[in-house]
Symmetry: C2
Subunit: 237 residues, 2 copies
């Protein structure tokens, strides 16, 4: 947790009060905050501030703003990823948010087990987003969409996301074209499931405007390839 995210309703008065069990536990046990310490705080969907701790108790920490701080810019990228195994979902969302992805779309695919869509973790997305924002020092949550039908999404919705200024790249190990690097424009990247998209899905993605590109001959896990591809695409930021 590199900033403490507060709800706008917590920041109406001059003194703000941190009351979340999770945040208090971290500040008490890991940071061991004391009156007079400074604390980086973000207001959800709002600004970021350096604050001073003015009162500390077991169930509340009171702070007052010292100065405004910048919020890190987002990466101009839409990440479309095949719905991962539940145990991977948390880390995938957290990492994508931490790295600054603007929009995340969870998509069904032939090799996605239908049971993945039943996981209770999908009720936790908001929490994973908060953890990612607090890690990155960001305050603005990305949009997250879920599309449980591959063909209608690829044929009807995906084309509306693709423009000449914002191309879409699907990572596919078996093509010679390489994913570009250090681009200076927006894009959409599409990451398949464990085992990859099936040929029919790759064909449909390409037919609907995606470029199939390779990240090299190594096969990288979904949760790892996202950071690898984002670092490659946005290396100049």
């Amino acid at each position: 947790m590199n900033i403490v995210l507060l709800d706008p309703r917590q920041t109406q008065s001059e003194t703000w009060t941190i009351t979340s069990k999770r945040q208090l536990e971290h500040l008490h046990n890991h940071v061991e905050v004391q009156v007079g310490d400074t604390l980086k705080v973000g207001i959800r969907e709002g600004k970021r501030y350096l604050t001073e701790i003015v009162n500390v108790s077991e169930n509340a920490i009171e702070i007052q703003q010292i100065e405004q701080q910048g919020v890190p810019a987002k990466l101009p990228v839409t990440l479309i990823v095949a719905m991962p195994r539940p145990k991977v979902l948390r880390r995938l969302i957290m990492d994508a948010v931490t790295l600054g992805v603007e929009k995340i779309i969870l998509l069904h695919s032939y090799r996605v087990d239908k049971s993945y869509w039943q996981t209770p973790f999908l009720q936790q997305l908001e929490h994973y987003v908060t953890l990612g924002l607090e890690q990155a020092g960001d305050t603005i949550a990305p949009q997250i969409e879920q599309h449980k039908r591959f063909k209608p999404f690829v044929e009807d919705i995906l084309p509306t996301l693709i423009t000449q200024e914002k191309p879409a790249f699907v990572a596919h190990p078996y093509v010679t074209a390489k994913m570009p690097c250090a681009i200076n424009h927006a894009c959409t990247i599409i990451i398949g499931p464990e085992g990859g998209f099936i040929p029919y899905e790759i064909d449909l993605l390409v037919k609907n405007g995606c470029q199939a590109v390779s990240l090299g001959s190594r096969i990288i896990r979904t949760e790892t390839v996202i950071a690898y591809a984002l670092g490659r695409l946005f290396g100049t930021t």
Copy 2:
């Protein structure tokens, strides 16, 4: 598991036999292999082959080679990383191996809890390397070193790793110089612990030949920043 790694001693005769419980469990339950199927197999520290399955039983799968396949090239990078929390160690090693890091150095640092060096997971490094190689389709294990004293390593060993052709970059959020992208030469990257290196450590690293460079204003977890930095540095591969 995208290839099955065998010990050279398992590949002396014409027919090779897979007997590892872990590998058999995967091939039986996830791949559901049958006689006649092809299987990608690597020989540890050796070549990679497409093989055909000639016999399947509960406790053994027999294969014969069809043709040799290429082993993916390593990234010309030495990764020096502050010893992570035990629960992060497995993933960090697996990802670094999967991504093709040539050499991994686990280093102590002021903000590394000394207890991390006592974790039984350090006895599992060999296993994590195997998992990473089987994920990537690689057969060559990276070197892994452990250095439990920061100052002697940085002053006596690190300088011997740095040349004009192989610079060293330490990721540090509070500098204006940016980590380069899409380089076409070898390098060493140094990743600090949770909470970062302390100023004394950054100073000592710089004094001993490292360039402190930033990856942007977002603070990224150790296990995520490695893939992000490698994608950025080696975007042209």
